[in-house]
Symmetry: C2
Subunit: 456 residues, 2 copies
């Protein structure tokens, strides 16, 4: 049967696929740093050329930032769009890398062979699993399995400023029957997974001002209000003693997990002790009446991501500061409305302010959670394909982080996103010595081939 | 009578006294910056030479840091020691100065003539008031009024690392009947004052550690403990709702003000509204059952001087940090024991720690309050002399800040310190455009002449 031939072709071509990926990895396409602008451009050019080589008519599309790469191949059957990103994170601190981050290598490790280098896992290695699957298909079948659109971004690691405008401007071109997104990981590094819930995000910066200048705590200590103390009191009240967030209306729109999903999650046997032990912790610190998986996937959170005020250098200065600052973010789920929560947070803080203090709020990101309907029969087919490839029952899982593009496909294009990735928990994303397991790359290509067969 | 002649001589010699002070002010003796080491040395040399010129046998004494200047003049009557410091604060930000900080000028302002430049008020201008009084006395009487020791430090603005070892090593040489210290200000810029209470200090740095590395709040948010939240909860509990500090035993050794002192302070008519309005505040924020003057002079305080943790740069990073830090200091009064309070604070925080968190404490300064017995008849004489010079009843006041040298005179030498200074609240100590009123300089010299006459 044809799938068998495609899989064999993938197996035979692993060395060539690695050569191609390494070429792409050698281009230092760091999107946040203007010094690497031409590198980003070269990565886009490389991808255009590579897509053309497998019969996908591709173009580099200009944006105010880094270019998009968009390619189309006609075909019968469903129209599948594939999304990935070709930009990578910065590499500092460079001294913590064992090798040049942009000179990728295949390494033998105690846990097996790995591809080492910046972008191996996030996201060049992952995006190439799909392109290589298409290449093998084309080589064996003479044609791609269906109508395919490739949509690759170069600004994912720098906040995707051009993404929404581009999608809005090219709705008709990008709308598809299903959007395949390869930028996620397997469950606990061993279970292939489809992500069906991604938490949303609300980010707010808070500045409390007391006196109009920094004061000497000898002269003013005791009589003048200290904004650090005020800020600490505010932060201390954001959670109650059970771990629930105290902002009025915060839990509006937070759904309970369906019995079915709860049962499936229970069956995953999440080893939260190991998850926490990895970072030297032992006790789940969230809402005390929730399971650890709920805490990370399906319950909203409030975290202080940064705090600062007064003297923070070496030694001591007895300053009574004029201001104290915090960056606070919320992970949102279900139908929680980030803008309503922002208003409620601001109202609560304003109400708590003592005399002589003022507060300034700076709005940062706000996005709703992404909830994908897993009842879609295509999801079952993809799950089945993954289970067959990995010889382990694949699972629907949640994701604690945010992948905004998934929501954009839903909201802007009305296209259902299907999130499948082959990353592992120890890939060191965004960190020195990033890697991608050779198994992830190889079985990733094979997985896409199976999914393409299942969906077409 | 002889005092009249001395005062007239001071009046006549103001221009020359200013010339001398300006010479000293032109030497940029910034003690914290190694680049100014030779300047500190030159300032000490200048003072040795100047003291010699009025018959005080002076020497530059080597320390591991900047030199001390010690001079002696024999005489009959009491042995008076005078302390001041010849080092100055750094001048940055330099762009905020209207003139070169080390090119002092006499300026006319709406509030009268001022000496402008770094060190005019802190402390070169103040220390020269005493030396000039001695010079005038010598010129008129042919001799100094009594046995006098001059003890000038060059490290006051950089923590006085050599002071205690030097005093310990030269106890016999420095012990005197009274130690005159000129490094303080007048009450509300108008009432000459003797400071009889200086708050002590306890400084502690606290680091709360949760996970062993910074985490992504998407993956770990909700399940992992956040040390910023823990630190905020700790800080929020350091005061109760009435403004009292909650550390067990914190108020042990805090005396109530005597009725007499309370009455004298009430009579000062402290304009706390104006004091707070200066820094854009209006409500005394300390213990709610205390007067504003008590809050700043005679009650202990707890202030957070600095806090930091997580991401504090531009924009947003959804980090869940491994650590959060705070610098906390306490102003102490009466017999409060800083070391006992340090232990109680550490115990209280350790007890509050949730599972998975650890705390590290770094001890910084610790000094008891300095309480000087104002019943000493010499204090009454000095108070009287000040009242006569300024034509305003002089007052015993407290000082919110710490002047550690006062305590050292008590504890190391058994010598009572007498703190009198002529600074004003708007002198801009440690800030750009530091100034010292010509009135402070002129009446300061005259005040010391009167005090010398009163004490001998």
């Amino acid at each position: 049967m044809s799938l068998t031939a495609v899989l064999s072709r993938i197996d035979a071509d692993v060395p060539q696929a690695l050569d191609r990926l390494f070429e792409l990895l050698r281009i230092p396409s760091i999107s946040t740093d203007p010094a690497f602008r031409t590198a980003c451009d070269r990565a886009a050019d490389w991808l255009v050329k590579d897509l053309e080589s497998i019969g996908i008519a591709a173009e580099k599309r200009v944006t105010p930032g880094h270019p998009m790469v968009v390619g189309h191949a006609d075909g019968s059957g469903p129209h599948l769009l594939f999304y990935g990103h070709y930009d990578v994170q910065p590499v500092d601190p460079l001294e913590l890398w064992d090798n040049d981050p942009f000179d990728p290598k295949l390494e033998d490790t105690a846990k097996g062979r790995v591809l080492r280098g910046r972008g191996t896992a996030d996201d060049k290695g992952q995006l190439m699993t799909f392109i290589e699957a298409c290449r093998a298909w084309k080589a064996e079948q003479g044609t791609l399995p269906c109508k395919i659109t490739i949509f690759l971004e170069g600004e994912e690691e720098s906040g995707s400023p051009s993404l929404v405008p581009f999608m809005e401007a090219h709705k008709d071109e990008l709308r598809a029957d299903l959007a395949l997104i390869c930028d996620t990981a397997m469950f606990e590094s061993k279970t292939p997974a489809i992500v069906t819930m991604l938490r949303g995000m609300l980010q707010e910066e808070i500045t409390i001002t007391g006196p109009d200048k920094d004061l000497h705590s000898g002269y003013y200590g005791g009589i003048a209000i200290n904004p650090i103390r005020v800020l600490s009191q505010i932060i201390a009240t954001l959670h109650d003693e059970t771990g629930r967030v105290t902002i009025p209306g915060f839990y509006d729109g937070v759904p309970e997990l369906s019995d079915q999903m709860q049962a499936q999650w229970d069956a995953l046997g999440f080893d939260h002790a190991a998850f926490l032990r990895d970072v030297d912790l032992s006790v789940p610190a969230g809402e005390q009446d929730r399971t650890p998986l709920e805490m990370t996937w399906s319950r909203p959170t409030c975290e202080v991501n940064g705090i600062w005020g007064g003297y923070t250098g070496e030694g001591f200065k007895t300053v009574l500061p004029a201001q104290a600052h915090a960056k606070i973010s919320f992970r949102l789920v279900g139908d929680q409305d980030p803008l309503k929560i922002r208003e409620a947070l601001r109202g609560m803080i304003t109400k708590m302010l003592p005399a002589d203090c003022s507060v300034a709020f700076t709005a940062h990101g706000a996005s709703k959670a992404c909830v994908i309907d897993a009842d879609d029969p295509r999801f079952e087919k993809a799950l089945q394909a993954l289970s067959e490839e990995w010889q382990v029952p694949a699972a629907y899982i949640g994701g604690g982080g945010s992948i905004p593009v998934a929501g954009y496909f839903q909201d802007i294009l009305g296209t259902t996103p299907l999130l499948i990735g082959f990353g592992k928990d120890d890939d060191a994303l965004h960190s020195p010595n990033e890697k991608y397991d050779l198994e992830s790359f190889h079985k990733g290509m094979r997985s896409w081939a199976r999914i393409l067969a299942a969906l077409t």
